[in-house]
């Protein structure tokens, strides 16, 4: 085999691998991103329909209800709007009313967010930056009902 052919074959292999990888990446990125929205953005219908996304905010104090078996309901608030959430499973250790939370799932037709994953923050002084940003975005003069002292 001539050197020129060899170079070409090697180059071709390299380009094929890269092309394949690019294809995989584009495909996977298109399907597996989850966007982050605050309760206000959800209320304002900024969320694409029937799409998995992450909802972040604070667990509204007094909103946690346990139902049958392991189903729980609670509301996520950004102090302006609130979204009701339903989740079946074990809540993370750090899940607490009044604390930051991120729930991943879909918005049901009844307006209840059905979460298949709930993440809570890991440290008393730490809040996921997305949650902090969601709270920062919302003007705080209209505090969600029930939290006013």
């Amino acid at each position: 085999m001539k050197a020129r052919h060899k170079r070409f074959a090697l180059l071709l292999t390299g380009v094929t691998v890269l092309g394949l990888a690019a294809l995989l990446v584009i495909n996977a990125l298109g399907n597996n991103l989850s966007y982050f929205f605050s309760p206000t953005e959800v209320t304002e219908n900024k969320v694409p329909e029937n799409h998995v996304f992450r909802l972040g905010g604070l667990v509204e104090p007094g909103s946690l209800q346990r139902g049958q078996e392991l189903t729980v309901r609670f509301s996520v608030t950004d102090n302006r709007n609130r979204i009701r959430v339903r989740y079946t499973g074990i809540l993370p250790d750090l899940f607490q009313e009044g604390q930051g939370v991120i729930a991943q799932g879909r918005l049901g037709e009844d307006g209840v967010f059905v979460a298949d994953e709930v993440l809570a923050k890991h440290d008393e002084n730490y809040m996921p930056p997305e949650v902090a940003a969601a709270l920062e975005k919302s003007p705080q003069d209209g505090v969600a009902g029930g939290t006013k002292p």
């Binding site: 991103l33 982050f36 346990r66 440290d123």
Partner: protein, 650 residues
Amino acid sequence: MIPEIGHMALILALSMALLQATLPVIGAHRGISSWIAVAKPAAQAQLLFMTIAFACLTYAFLVHDFSVQYVAANSNTALPTLYLISGVWGAHEGSLLLWALTLSIWTTAVTLFSRSVPAAMVARVIGVMGMISVGFILFMLFTSNPFERLPMPPMEGRDLNPLLQDPGLAIHPPMLYMGYVGFSVAFAFAIAAMLSSRLDAAWARWSRPWTNIAWVFLTLGIVLGSWWAYYELGWGGWWFWDPVENASFMPWLIGTALLHSLAVTEKRGAFKAWTVLLAIFAFSLSLLGTFLVRSGVLTSVHAFATDPGRGIFILIFLGVVIGGSLLLYSLRASEIRSTVRFNLLSRETGLLLNNVLLVVAAASILLGTLYPLILDALGVGKISVGPPYFNNVFIPLTLPLAVLVGFGAFARWRQDSAATLLRQLRLPLVASLFAGMAYAIWLTPYFTWGAALGMVLAFWVLLSTMSWVKAHMKPGELLNGASRGRWGMVVGHLGIAVFVVGITLTSIYSSEKDIRLERGQSYSMGDFTFTFEGASAFTGPNYDGYRGLVAVAEKGEALTTLHPEKRNYRSGMPMTEAGIDAGLTRDLFVALGEPLGQEGAWSLRIYHKPFVRWIWLGGLLMALGGLLAASDRRYFRLAKKARKTMEQGA
């Protein structure tokens, strides 16, 4: 007083590092041998001062000196002694100190074990490592001094993050850092070779055992981290594609590529420019990992507190080290002439393909890790990239690697013929197809093509490696040291087979159930019946908690009892400790959720995980392979020969 001594020692270590980073490098450039001679004592003195600094911080933890802010924030008097010691590296400042200490350990190791390398080269290597030391010690002194005093010492410290109060975590960071930092040796050799314009195969030979050992540590560190996440986080997963995990996995992938490409450069003198680039990348990604973890630019379960000041410092440091070395590379790489010829069908090509796949896999992980940051920077929105992305990209890219393993070992250097290769590999090829399919059909709960593919690949790696051993290795050779390099390859590749079995069977056949159980109620999962016998309160050294009692029966016969715990640390953090019954072919895993109602009912998470241990076992075998390869006597002989030629040439 002791913390001040530590602080002083740190400053002295900095001055040694400065000395080490300047005089020897200039000396090597100008040929001043007295300046070159400074390298070794300076590096050893740096280690001495770093050790003193580290000992001082450890002492402050042991005597509960809460006037030191770091000690007050990360320990208290109720903390068991083991965690007082591991608490030293439990948070930001201390783990940096450990990083810097590790770097000076590696540097000193270079001074001790490179007598065969020309003095000017060693001086440059130590100089480059000194520059990195300077950066890290400055970073510590300016932004994260572990010896900072509190004006008003508290009576009691806060506590070490309960997640970190675990024997696994006590050794995980040191292992990981030994790996991360160990790549600085290969990096320093590559930079030194470029500085001296001697980009021949010699630097590859010298740095190969170092890279091997660093890679072994990194492998062990990652395995430990994965194992720790499995039983400590209470989620039952062994890998989460968390940014911090990715930060350690990317250098591992590049390091693996580097191991293989160093072999080509050493043995055949080919891929010289590429190998230098990989050495730069491996260490750069280690530094980038540090940046990602420490600056808080990414959200992660590891969640270290953010501090933009620190982030900016590390970013500048990254820019200087990585940017500088890549610029140097762009200047020097064009001088390299590769005159080595090899055929398209040869071991060189196989290893090239291995490298391309590993690097592309690492790049796709880097992209997935940084993608949220990039979109956020462009103002597109806040997103997160989930595990499915990584699985969908990473698995297809690494499957061909497993296929290559068999061919690569058999293929000869320079050229081989397809007919010979096929003849040698016909038997393992057919046997693995048959065995893999048979396993997936008869020995699994139900057939899936994924399981068939995974098992065929695992058998392929196993059988092709075994037939290579049969064809090329004599029994008893393991002990004489001369062929440990090849045995290392064999063991490492067998590790891949074991690892693939673990991943395939765990990810396809695991069962998981979240369930509410009252006292006395049971749940059956396959052959196993889990009976919840209640949870009772108990008190630990620095926490209160509940310990559950779960009786497990297999096919009606009592097997074991598991004790999952729910702990509430007095520092205010809750923790879940899983109850695990470990076995070679399956793990049973029970975690306590939360109490439900008055009747003593709890929510429980139950897992059955077949072959999950094989994942870590595979990792351990790979590490063992690396260790064997590093201990090959050939390096010492080659090094001796190299010195002789050098002396004759001089």
